[in-house]
């Protein structure tokens, strides 16, 4: 996805350390996601200045401040729209979008669907803790039915969204699920997602140790089954991925659900970008072209 522009120096973990240490609660799942992203960038040797990490608002959305790349910590729910603009203005950048389940599936739901169908070339990592963390514990769109929170103290009466099914239906071309307690697989999925040319969606179970006492590390561990351990799983089979996406309960799959590589990313489908990133394009309209614009009106 990224073309190395200038810098060929070796990228080390230390290069990716942010200006401040994360202020997440000790034990928060988001630490694991941060580590995996840093590891993936080191493995892929992508220089930090060619990466833009874009988030909305939430505990998880504090992510860009904790990694030394270009960062944008934007508005609640709007990271994908902003990321699309960034990518189209300079498609040589590696674009990572990081955020929470409320950010992405709640307020950001419309951009979720539409960025996917556009196949914008980026990796979207949702740190899915099934709760609103930063606002101190309300029901999120992925909170299970019956779950009690400050906003639904008698238990949630609304069915949660299924991010994997939704992403499949919306047309994402790479769809995976990780667990922040499963570093190796997670790092690998992040690398695949970065390398995939198109919209990569990675839903990561990232437990909120402070507000979600239902979906804890302990709750997840015995349930999670790696898709790569299922020899029958074919990630190019959309219907099969959809079937797997419905699993929830004693068995919850993690790993790559689906990938297709036959759809061009949005920036590859628009000839205006053939000559290279807009950032480097000449801002002056050539005089003959300008002249033709005016002539049309005469």
């Amino acid at each position: 996805m990224a073309t190395v522009l200038v810098d060929t120096k070796h990228v080390a973990m230390a290069d990716l350390k942010g200006k401040v240490d994360p202020d997440w609660c000790p034990g928060c799942g988001d630490f694991g996601v941060l580590a995996a992203v840093q590891k993936a960038l080191v493995d892929l040797q992508i220089p930090n200045h060619n990466v833009v990490t874009i988030s909305g608002i939430g505990c998880s959305s504090n992510f860009p401040g904790y990694i030394n790349t270009y960062g944008m910590h934007t508005l609640h729910g709007r990271a994908l729209a902003i990321a699309t603009g960034v990518k189209l203005a300079n498609h040589e950048l590696t674009v990572l979008v990081t955020g929470g389940d409320g950010d992405g599936f709640g307020i950001g739901g419309n951009h979720f669907v539409h960025s996917m169908r556009r196949n914008v070339d980026l990796l979207y990592i949702v740190m899915d803790n099934q709760i609103y963390g930063l606002t101190t514990g309300q029901t999120s769109p992925t909170s299970r039915m019956g779950m009690k929170t400050k906003s639904m103290p008698f238990g949630n009466i609304e069915a949660p969204v299924n991010p994997i099914s939704l992403a499949l239906a919306a047309g994402a071309t790479f769809i995976a699920r990780g667990f922040s307690g499963e570093q190796k697989q997670l790092t690998d999925l992040i690398k695949q997602g970065i390398q995939h040319k198109g919209f990569s969606f990675l839903d990561v179970f990232s437990p909120c140790v402070t507000y979600n006492h239902d979906n804890t590390y302990q709750w997840f561990r015995p349930r999670l089954k790696k898709l790569e351990d299922d020899p029958a799983h074919d990630p190019t089979d959309w219907m099969a991925a959809m079937r797997k996406s419905l699993l929830w309960g004693d068995e919850i799959p993690i790993g790559k659900f689906f990938e297709r590589t036959d759809v061009p990313p949005l920036h590859g489908a628009e000839p205006v970008l053939n000559a290279g990133p807009l950032l480097h394009a000449d801002t002056r309209i050539p005089p003959d072209v300008a002249h033709s614009f005016v002539e049309e009106l005469m």
């Binding site: 401040v20 220089p47 508005l75 203005a89 300079n90 970008l273 801002t283 005469m298």
Partner: protein, 596 residues
Amino acid sequence: MKQTFTIGIGGAAGQGVATPGDIFAKIFSRRGLHLNAYNAYQSIIRGGHTFLTIRTGPERVSNMGDRVDLLIPLNQDAMNRHLGLLTDGAACIYNADTITPGVPAKGALLCPLPVSKLADISRNKVAQNTLAVGAGLSMMGIGFQSLEEVLTEQFKKKGDAVVSENVGIARAGYDYATAHFEPFPWPLPMTNNRYAVLSGNIAMAMGGAAAGVKFYCAYPMSPSTGVLHWMAAHARKAGIMVRQVEDEIGVVNMAIGAAHAGVRSMCATSGGGFALMTEGLGLSAMMETPVVVIDCQRAGPSTGVPTKTEQGDLWQILGAAFGDYPRVIAAPLDIGDCFKIIPEIFNIADRFQCPGIVLCDLLLSEGRLSVDPKDLDFAPVVDRGELITSVPSTSGSSGDGVYKRYKITESGISPRAVPGVPGYAHTAASDEHDEDGVLISDEFTNPTKRRNMMEKRMRKVTGIEAAVPPPVLSGSRDADITLIGWGSTKGVIEEACEILTEQGIPANHLQIRWLVPLHGDAILNILKDTRHTIIVENNYSGQFARYLRSETSYVPNGYIRKYDGEPFMPHHIVEAVKEQLGGKSRLSVPAHEILV
């Protein structure tokens, strides 16, 4: 008084009102005549009632004027609604087969066309329109050749047979009129000028291209959609990435994303879409990422009257997003200015790294005006401000450890590095942050740093003020009446001033183009020498008057307002001024006599 000639064409949507309008416009502008066109239409695809006014003349025509010289009603409804507008010397050309005229005013001429005798209406559904155009041109004293040329261009794609059929019909109308109708007393002149005829939307789109916009996105919304249409059609030639987005929230944020990555980025909408964008404007302000948003106002509140004009979004724009932040807001004064204002506002937005808002309205966005091609300057000054798009050769290889994105400076401006530049990595945040971009909202809140950062950003206001010229008074300083307006009303107020002055009431005129910053002191300085001031605006509550007062305490002697969806005509203002000078009232709300 200027010599102008106005044609009014009325009919239902789908009856082809636009085509005769286009033909007249082309012929006039090629004749070196100026023109101004306004279409009173409805949010309907077929049916209803549309009334197009084209006013032309050898000098600049700044508004639709007061009178109709030639009425072409395409159906009975249009005849019934508008015949009463005609006064002495005017004429009405109509299809005598289908339309029954009313009784015209004294001196107004009825010109019935025996349409089915002159053309084969079973073959050509719009024959009546073409006949009327021919007849009209004959009465205006314009040679047939110009019409033949335009029709040939228009139909050449459809083949010679269609061309000659249409030219034939036009000719029949032309000849019939020459034989039967009295020509207008003064033939339309010719000049050596050549004008481009364009809408405000096209002007703003082209202005964007000229300013170096590389990213444009939008969600369709009347009356702003024309900007998207031009951009989309010319995207490849102009090298502009144009996207239609899922909603206006996506639009503004996508535009900000592109801007943040370093390109000039623009979007346009109307009031309802703008309402959805205000949160994004705050983001642009806080991240100090410049973006230009155009709001083409239409009659509100809410969905309101989507095809009608109003200047009712001013307070929405002034109040867009919460908290205090620097920004620049401008209202173009006419369609030519729609072009010019875009590069200007981009330079300010870029230099001061803040959002820029252009407050246009339906009257300009969808109106059309003849503009001298040399006023469409595709090589304007482009000042991108302190923008770092590559490692500065002077600074060694890296900004590492030195570069502070939000450095506190005297001017409030901090050099802006775009993603991709080695050594300048930083995070831009919507949360309050320190010079390094580190949040001071989470772990490290700090009232002192917060205050310093607020003051840094707000210091940019001083720079913006200096970058924006104060308004100037048009006309003689020594006047009995000073009319104050903003944005699109410039043309009509200008003409009202001329009429008043001619009628012995010397009038001058202050039109506001830059709304924020406003230059209140300069305005007060101008207004202190006036005798009787009236603020003219196209909304109910006097939004500009209230804003001006908030900045200056100034209270004018009177107000002229209109909020029926239609623009002012010069006589509305002239009569209201006289009424107010007569002491009858301080607020006049002229009635719109054209039923549309």
